[in-house]
Structure formats: C-alpha cells, structure tokens
Symmetry: C2
Subunit: 304 residues, 2 copies
C-alpha cells in the first residue's frame, strides 16, 4: 500500500507524539517536527507509510541519542501480557473452535497495542479480549485460513508488537510449532517486537525465530535480510500482524493472511471496511479489492 | 498567540480539507500538500497560525485559479442565517438580560461556523443556539463587558465568518449602531466575511463597515490597512470574534473582548479552558493567563 495524502498529517502527528514520549526537550521536538515536514514534502508517495515512519523514528533515536526508547515499556508489556497467558489458554480450552478463537485472540493482541496506551489497565485487556471474541469475523476467510493451516508446510508468522506476541503464542500453540518461523524486527523501532522480546516471552524456546534485519515499523521487503527473503520465499502460508505489516505487504503476490484491527480511515478504506473492524483478510482478496477501492473516497492517485 | 507544534499537523490537514472542497484534481491536492509541508518546515513559529494559513489559502487559490472558492457557500450561509434573524430578535425580546443574551447569540454564530459543515440543518442551528443560551459564561467578564459597553465611545467589532455576521448584528443592535465600526476581510479567504457579505446581510446599511485590507483568516495587524490601524488605535473597546482573531490579537495590549468557542486543544490550553467552552474573554486576563499557561501541557516553547 502506498502513502496516501491523509497519511501525511498523521505521520507528522505521530512523530510529535513519539518524540514527546521520549524527551521533554522541546528543541528536539522542534528539530524532529521540522525535519519530518521537510522530508515528507518530497516523499515518494509510491512507497508505503512505514518507509517514512522508519526515517522518522531513526531521526528521533539519533536526536535523542537513545537507541531503544521503548525498551522499558516493551519489557513491561511483555510481563503484563504474560500474566494473561494462562487466562488465554483457558479461553482456548473452553472453545468449541479453538483455532478461530486463537485467531481472534491474536487480533485482540494487536488491538490492545500496548505501546499506544501506556496507562493500560487489566480491565481494558479483558474488555478488548471480549470484544475480539464477539466481533464479526469473515468466516469464509477463516475457512480458507483453516484449510491452508491444515496443509501448509512452512508458515511464516510476521509479528508486530511486544506484549502482543504473547497473544500470538496462543495461535502458534494451535498451529503447531514445528513448521513455524516467527519474524521479529532486526533493530528496535517504537514498541515493535525484537529478538529480545521473543526471548523474554518464551517464543524463542518454542519456535524458530528470525529477525528481519530491518528497523521499519512494518516489513519493507527490499530492506530486509537475505535470511528473511529466503524464508518469505519458501513459506507456503504467511501470517502478518497489524497495520504496519499490512501497509508494507499488501501488494505482494503471496499467500498472506493479515490479522489486524483497522485503526485508521486510510487503512479501513483500503480494506473496504469500517474503522475499528476486526480483520482477518487474505492477500488475494485484498489485492484485487485494493485495486477496486483505490480511486475511491479519500484514497488519492499519485501523480508523480 | 504563536504557532505551537501541534498546529502543524492540523494546518496540513486543513490545507488538504480546503483544497478538496474546491477541486477534485488530485494533482492539485498533491501540489498544495507538498508546498504546505515545505513551507511549514521552515515556518517562523513566533508568528500566529493564521500567518501560515494565509499563505496556504493563497496557494490554494493560485493553484485552483479560483479567487473566491467559497463565494457560493458564503452567499448560501448569509441567506440561511438571515432566515433566523427574526427568531433571534424574538429571543432578545423575551430575554431579561438582552445584552448577555446577545453576547451568547454572537458566540452561537461562531460555534455554528457554517463554512465547516456544508450540510448544516435548521435543527443544528436551533440546537447550537439553545446550547449557547444555556452554556456557562464568565459572568465577571460579562459585567466588565457591560460596563465597558456602557461608556465606550468607539467600538471596533472585528467579524469572523459569513453567516455568523447575522448573529453579530443582534449584538450590534444591543450595543447601538452609531459608535460601531464593523471590520471584515479585505479579500476572500475561506468563508470569512468580506464587504460583499456585510452588504448582503444589511450590516453595511446599519453601521460603518471597513475592510482590513488583508486576506488572512484572522487579523494580522502588520498586514492590515492604514485605515484599520487608525480605527484599531482609536477604539476604546474592541470585540473580536472567533479563533483566528484570538490567535492573531491575543498579544495586543488593547481593551479587547474575545467571543469564541474554543474548538481546538491548542486554543483551549492557551485560554486555560476545556475544548468546547463558550468563551467570553477579556484581553488583560488572557494575556496574563497566556503567560502562565504557556509552558504547560502541549504548549511548546519556541527555540529559534
């Protein structure tokens, strides 16, 4: 998915929010703001929004001189989510359709997006889990997911955030651990999961974990490592979590299932759904629907 | 009031909204977006947000080759508001404190901001009027307003939008027309009232109307005409409507009463109130409180 005009003010808002979380130094806020404005003014809109976000977060880390600004937050969220793991297991144990329930819980993990709400309460998590369990889900796509999962030899599971990966573990338990390669980011960016998080949450003991070699809040294929490219190529089923991975992988002709909540109007429009939809979407559908939707509503053509 | 960091993404969003209202040509949307990003990246943050907005709307008019993009909309809103005038007069006739009611109605006119909601319905107007009549109002400041109005020799009434000026007429009726100079914009910008609107709504037959010689969505003192400067200097009471006039005049040491609704977090923070507050604010208070509030919350210092 390319960058739409509406992504621009949103990216600038995000840059400001991000740098404010890290430092109170307003001269750094201003430097980040001005540089992001400058860079976005000549941005290549054919690229996906995470390409811009990657530059933005590199700049923030460079100016604040903090390599992993969300380190403590990620650690906290991993621990916080791990405390829910037994509860999640019980939900699965009581489910009549454990795989579907696990898909819903994996999406719940994405909805929670622990990085965004630093003051998250236990009751918020329960509420989100309940909502994901009750939400409307595309059951035709779930049937496809189930059929593919039944026969896939190599499943590439592309993770999103720290904390959330504990919820992914529930789905991985259902899929079977042997054939799964779990992908985390190569270097820290926002609250995205890295190898450290995979280790802290026990994922690394359960499945083969690789890092993608990059620090974008998504999966920019051309920036990823050769190891990632090989695994991506060999996978006969790919599960990709969250908006960033949707934005960066939605144009690839691969057997990808996206699990996410559509949190912004641009993504919702691209998916052809309402904001807030709990989304299980298969790539092939997405690709053709993306084309169908791209000249509608707020989605702009790119003129250069 | 200077431009705060949070104004930047908002200005960019406004530029996009504004140009989309005028043309469906996405290459023009993109030109406006890129140019606004470029210009904001080096903007002087000591200047008020309307300085940037003025540049932005000039650019939009230049690229779309439409001198007065909101002309039809303004005409429609004047007519629409005029239909309410007898109703507004009845409200005053039935009021025990007609001046206070007139102040509330003038703020209601600002709240409606007809330019923003092109699909405004009659029931929305009634609802807004009811809310403004019931809203909490700073009655100490109203007492000051009343006392000043009782003795002022020259009142400068700085208008905001087309349509809204019909609501201003109700307050002008109460203040007495002889000593009032009513100020409109020198050239079209968004839905701001110009001489044409003052004539269309009968204001020009009622009071002396001058234009400020400028096309900013606010009152940038240094860009205004000599005639405006003279009237501004001679006025012993100034009434300024809306956010744009607050943003541009809040640092002047003059006897100004601002009538507005605080529609955005930056303004609300600057005023020290909640978003959505119906605001009658006297300059002197504002100035000292502005100083008090300026290092708090989302209000940034300007480092250059």
């Amino acid at each position: 998915m390319r960058t739409y005009f509406d992504c621009m003010p949103c990216l600038i808002r995000q840059a400001l929010d991000a740098v404010r979380l890290i430092t109170k130094d307003e001269s750094i806020h201003e430097q980040v703001l001005r540089e992001v404005l400058r860079v976005t003014s000549t941005a290549d809109l054919h690229q996906s929004p995470p390409v811009m976000a990657q530059k933005m977060h590199r700049l923030i880390r460079q100016l604040t001189k903090i390599d992993d600004p969300y380190k403590r937050m990620k650690k906290h969220f991993n621990t916080f989510a791990l405390a829910f793991y037994p509860k999640l297991q019980r939900i699965i144990a009581e489910s009549k359709e454990p795989l579907e329930t696990a898909v819903r819980l994996a999406i719940a993990g994405n909805i929670i997006d622990l990085g965004v709400k630093s003051s998250l309460k236990t009751r918020d998590i329960y509420k989100t889990i309940d909502e994901a369990l009750m939400a409307e889900l595309d059951l035709t796509t779930f049937d496809d997911f189930k059929a593919e999962a039944a026969t896939a030899k190599n499943i590439l599971y592309i993770a999103d955030n720290a904390g959330e990966i504990v919820f992914d573990r529930i789905l991985i338990d259902q899929l079977g651990t042997e054939r799964i390669i779990f992908v985390v980011k190569g270097r820290p960016v926002i609250n995205d999961a890295t190898m450290e998080d995979a280790e802290a949450t026990g994922l690394a003991d359960l499945v083969r974990v690789i890092d993608n070699g990059d620090d974008a809040p998504g999966t920019i294929h051309e920036s990823c490592s050769e190891e990632f490219h090989r695994c991506f190529e060999e996978a006969d089923m790919i599960i990709a979590k969250g908006q960033g991975n949707y934005e960066t992988l939605s144009d690839f002709d691969k057997n990808i299932f996206f699990l996410l909540k559509a949190k912004c109007p641009v993504i919702a429009n691209h998916l052809g759904c309402k904001i807030g939809t709990t989304m299980l979407r298969r790539q092939n559908n997405t690709y053709s629907e993306g084309i169908k939707h791209e000249h509608k509503g707020i989605l702009n053509k790119v003129s250069r």
